[in-house]
Point group: C2
Chain length 351, copies 2
């Protein structure tokens, strides 16, 4: 437990009988060193268990080989874990480490997190941006010229590289599947931050994923000739109590939908919950489609039909793009959109 000071390159140099400069050259093989001294230094380093202090190196070379991740921890959506793992693994493959921060959809903590990460001199950032009108911390000057890649959600107003998914197409495909199976009364339960409880009137601002899913839903419905009157759009706060109340009110409305599409898994869980309470069997009495595949959605009986997004690819591509921009700055902003896939299981009944 004695905190004996870690050996420095000076210790290695002394033991090898050379100068620190030469020791550094020998270990990081650059410059000119003789074979002999390289050998001497290497073994000296090994003998005393020398490991270079990455802090000091970072200080000197101006790069920490660390990327900052600002993500929202959202357990139900199976996004946080899959994306985080993909990002951490991809980063390691590029020889980068990941400093992680969590924001609970709060723009202020997001802003604080970005500052803290920048203070720690991360080389770049991957961010899942929170909903907000203003993103003062994401201006290029605020970032000290360090590259940023947005994932999951775009911010159309800002010239930032992003990697997102084509949720509109996936959602449209899901709607088409349901209408092909005979559903004519469609429910759409949309997670929306900022609304109290739930409402049928659209909030003025929504994150890009929700907008995309809404557009896809709309396209699917019009392509299937479902009139507006047979669509029930409900915007709902991301609270179990609110979402369950919202589902109940949908089922009790004048136009109870035979299928409910949910814009995220919190909402899907609410549907499951309420259906369970009422003895409604999913895939028979009530149909359900949600976003993001998961082991649970696949293993449940019935299996839940989902709009699957390539979350792992999203993470690894984000890292690749970020590293690209870290190592050769001045690239154009890119807005990548990855394809989604509708996976039909048995939660949508044929009627």
């Amino acid at each position: 437990m004695q905190r004996t000071p870690a050996p420095t390159i000076a210790d290695v140099a002394e033991r090898a009988g050379v100068s620190p400069a030469t020791a550094s050259r020998a270990l990081s093989n650059y410059g000119r060193v003789s074979k002999d001294t390289v050998e001497k230094v290497r073994s000296a380093a090994a003998e005393i268990g020398y490991r270079p202090n990455e802090l000091a190196r970072a200080m000197r070379v101006g790069s920490t080989r660390t990327i900052g991740l600002v993500i929202i921890a959202d357990f139900t959506n199976a996004f946080f874990d899959r994306a985080t793992k993909a990002i951490v693994d991809a980063a390691r493959a590029h020889d980068y480490q990941v400093l992680i921060t969590n924001t609970d959809e709060d723009i202020d903590v997001e802003q604080q997190a970005v500052l803290t990460l920048l203070d720690k001199q991360v080389d770049g950032l991957i961010i899942v941006p929170s909903l907000a009108k203003e993103h003062p911390h994401l201006g290029t000057t605020q970032l000290g010229g360090r590259p940023v890649v947005l994932i999951d959600r775009r911010i159309d107003e800002l010239p930032l590289t992003s990697v997102t998914t084509d949720d509109a197409s996936g959602t449209r495909a899901a709607v088409l599947d349901a209408t092909a199976k005979g559903h004519r009364k469609l429910g759409f339960l949309i997670s929306a931050v900022g609304v109290p409880e739930f409402t049928t009137i659209a909030p003025t601002e929504m994150i890009s994923t929700v907008r995309d899913r809404s557009n896809g839903f709309r396209r699917g419905a019009t392509d299937s000739n479902i009139p507006i009157a047979d669509q029930l759009w409900v915007y709902c706060a991301d609270e179990p109590s609110s979402s369950e109340a919202a589902v109940a009110s949908m089922l009790d409305s004048d136009m109870p939908p035979s299928v409910i599409f949910t814009s995220n898994n919190d909402m899907a869980l609410a549907v499951l919950q309420v259906a369970g309470q009422r003895g409604l069997a999913i895939g028979r009495d009530l149909s359900l489609v949600t976003v993001d595949d998961s082991v649970w959605a696949a293993a449940m009986v019935p299996g839940i039909s989902v709009i699957a997004r390539p979350v792992e690819e999203l993470g690894s591509i984000a890292v690749a793009r970020l590293v690209e921009r870290i190592e050769s700055p001045g690239q154009d902003v890119e807005r990548l959109v990855l394809p989604t896939q509708y996976i039909s299981r048995s939660s949508v009944a044929t009627i």
Copy 2:
């Protein structure tokens, strides 16, 4: 996009008309500075948007205020995401950041990860250790005197502080519940690394959680007077193909169990999968209990009975203990064990 060099404390000092030393004192308020100069320096710093370089500060003061997290990313167990979020949040509350690394149960990448984190001068480590006979990288000397807290799993041979859960009691409670409901043929599907496919003979080494769950199961069974002959213990590789084959073989055996306890959620998913294929309804034709609560286990119909572990507390307590040891070294090793809770839902039938 111009990479204008970030302002340093020298810039602040110049603008305020003082020396860097005074500027530093004014900003970090220590030493002796007059009210006036504090004010001058503060506003100078604000005007040019000065933010201290944490790297340089860390270099000087010898502390990065960063903790390293080495965790296994295991999506199905809903442990990775909950624990990670709890740790990140707790760390931030203590004004620490988290460098995260993932090991896929591989001792070599774990060792490498620990080294990398130490090179980055983390102040301490939180580790979910992989199964192995030897843990050469976890000796106190290898860690350079930096504190470590193990979570989820203990390593009894090493004098390391750990925060784990009392899985034995939870498992015993689960068994007692099942036998009280009339089950007399018990299946136990145990995830074991290193076994090929599946087998009924116990591997020589198991991670502490699996050992604890096994002990709890054994105690529950003997307390309920279930003879060994009516227990079917199967050790299984953590691969969907293996676990599904294992479940199938259990159901087809001479002594098909009426209830299957699974030692982790990968195994539980296999049970769900095979039961679904065979048209066996969980909670009626086949009963199931698994470990770790999740939104899905609660929302499914029927709800899955689980041995719930306080994962968030586990994470935040681990951080608290670690920070304690970082800030005042030389504390005794502590092996905390948090209580588990058996949550009875409807996946266990009464027969």
